[in-house]
């Protein structure tokens, strides 16, 4: 059964006001196009969960989509602060819930695994445990020592961008894997966006590469360049210049609204956005090929 639909349809049908959404990806494959579509559709009161909110949650918060943020590192990766989120937090205008990376990923792993909690070794840094009541302690029944535990995170919706998927939703990623698999299995609904929609035979020629199987996927959308200014390994480079530019834009709320007006509200979809970026940017982000060595599965 094909689950192929437009991104606009998928966001409209599967993301509701008040949902907890997890736009997955650790620096790599961040689904910016989906964040922009959520902004265009005016979704409200979302809880935005992500280990690293990155620019996309800065933008979604600035657009008024967010009630709360769940995170483990709120920075502009390689640059500095996420200034929109920082201002909202310092002004008391956004709820938040905070973990370390490992804590955040442990919550997703527990959610993906259907487990009521997962343990972590203690870190001797008690303050996050003190301010976040989701952290609890248990005694290891074998050694008597204490472990720290966290409960599962079950986002209402996970969004995962991938290099290639088939129309059923079988999805393959290479390069940095982040928490995509865990977010998808932890979530109630899953939207897969892909640089390429390929024949089922392509996916099935390399089953070990598949991160997400079709039967947990609700919608498959063909969205080339979905991740810009983040990147897709082998398809285009990270736009480091834009990450630096955002540091300047996000200095003021006015400049941020100006940006949203031009680059989010002012374009219909990702195709128009990519077109608008222009050929010089396309050239700058293009990447020469470097292929993996062949792998033979055998015809059994």
């Amino acid at each position: 059964m094909s689950k192929l639909c437009t991104l606009s349809e998928a966001v409209s049908r599967l993301i509701h006001d008040g949902d907890t959404v997890y736009l997955a990806g650790f620096t790599h494959l961040i689904p910016f196009a989906v964040g922009h579509e959520i902004i265009r559709q005016g979704k409200k009161d979302l809880t935005l969960a992500r280990a690293t909110p990155d620019l996309i949650y800065d933008q979604m918060a600035a657009a008024g989509c967010a009630r709360k943020i769940i995170f483990s590192y709120m920075g502009n990766p390689g640059v500095g602060s996420l200034k929109v989120l920082r201002r909202l937090l310092e002004a008391g205008k956004l709820e938040w819930e905070e973990y370390s990376h490992f804590g955040m990923i442990t919550r997703l792993q527990a959610g993906a695994s259907g487990l009521p909690f997962l343990p972590m070794n203690p870190t001797a840094a008690p303050d996050l445990e003190r301010v976040n009541p989701n952290y609890r302690r248990l005694r290891d029944p074998y050694t008597g020592r204490e472990v720290v535990v966290l409960p599962p995170l079950h986002p209402d919706v996970a969004v995962v961008h991938v290099q290639r998927a088939d129309v059923h939703g079988n999805a393959q990623i290479w390069g940095i894997l982040g928490e995509q698999k865990e977010a998808a299995f932890a979530a109630g609904r899953v939207i897969v966006t892909a640089e390429e929609i390929v024949a089922e035979e392509v996916i099935r020629s390399d089953p070990n590469r598949t991160i997400i199987p079709e039967f947990i996927v609700d919608a498959v959308c063909h969205v080339p360049y979905c991740a810009h200014p983040s990147y897709t390994q082998g398809y285009y480079d990270r736009d480091n210049a834009f990450y630096l530019e955002w540091d300047r834009i996000s200095e003021s709320d006015e400049a941020v609204q100006e940006y949203l007006k031009e680059w989010v509200y002012g374009v219909r979809d990702r195709a128009e956005y990519w077109e608008k970026l222009g050929e010089e940017t396309h050239r700058r982000l293009a990447v020469p090929p470097r292929y993996a060595a062949p792998v033979n599965y055998g015809e059994y």
Binding site: F26, T27, H28, A51, T52, F71, S72, Y73, M74, G75, P77, G78, S81, L82, R86, L89, E90, G92, E98, Y99, S100, H101, F102, G103, I105, T106, L108, Q109, M120, N121, P122, T123, A124, A125, P126, D127, L128, V131, R145, E146, W174, G175, I176, L177, G178, E179, K181, E182, Y231, Q233, D237, R238, N240, Y243, V287, R290
Partner: protein
Amino acid sequence: MDNTAYTSSELMIINAARLLRDGDVVFVGVGIPNLACNLARRTHAPNLYMIYEAGVIGARPNRLPLSIGDPTLVSGAAAVCSMYDIFTLYLQRGNVDVGFLGGAQIDRFGNINATVIGDYAHPKVRLPGSGGSMEIAAWANRCYIMTPHQKRRFPERVDFHTSAGFLSGKGERAASGVRGKGPQAVVTNLGILEPDESGELILTALHPGATVEMARENTGWALKVADSLRITEPPTPEELRILREELDPQGIYR
């Protein structure tokens, strides 16, 4: 190229690089820790093994990575794994020798604040938060910190305890059950602080030209000085050449 002059960053990078040992498995951050590791690899530690919290193992970047998840870290790496795997199989399992840490505040006992200045619930300055550092500080066998030497960065006590140094002393850390030995050195632009037997950071080295007074003036606690206080070797022309010509030709981190 002027080999006699160098920046504070270069000084810190070069001195941090010298602390790394051949064969170390290092949990690398971007920016100056990345440069320190690559410098060590090209000088005395050719078998240094670099892993990244994004899940990249044995990276050999062709260009200077500008984020922790730069695609140049992946192409040509030995392995890529999930974030859950990197924090469990690698870090928690004890497969990481060295971690680099940073933060807005580092206190007398090497505890780090990367979370908030002021009250947590009503932040005066909201910082990025832990990221990987809470676990790196606890589980890497050794940790190093690089930071400019400034009084506001070296308070007597941190406002928020994001990651563990020696808590209120080495005994307390040992009793906590964490496997790592804690911060082994703080490299600043003035010199190097190292923990004494109690876990208190004391001045053990000065860079050429820096003085004990300069270090004391820029530290928020009554800084003790080691009996064996030494002067670090100045950066060599070769170290500077590698850093400037090979690793950061655009001078992004100078």
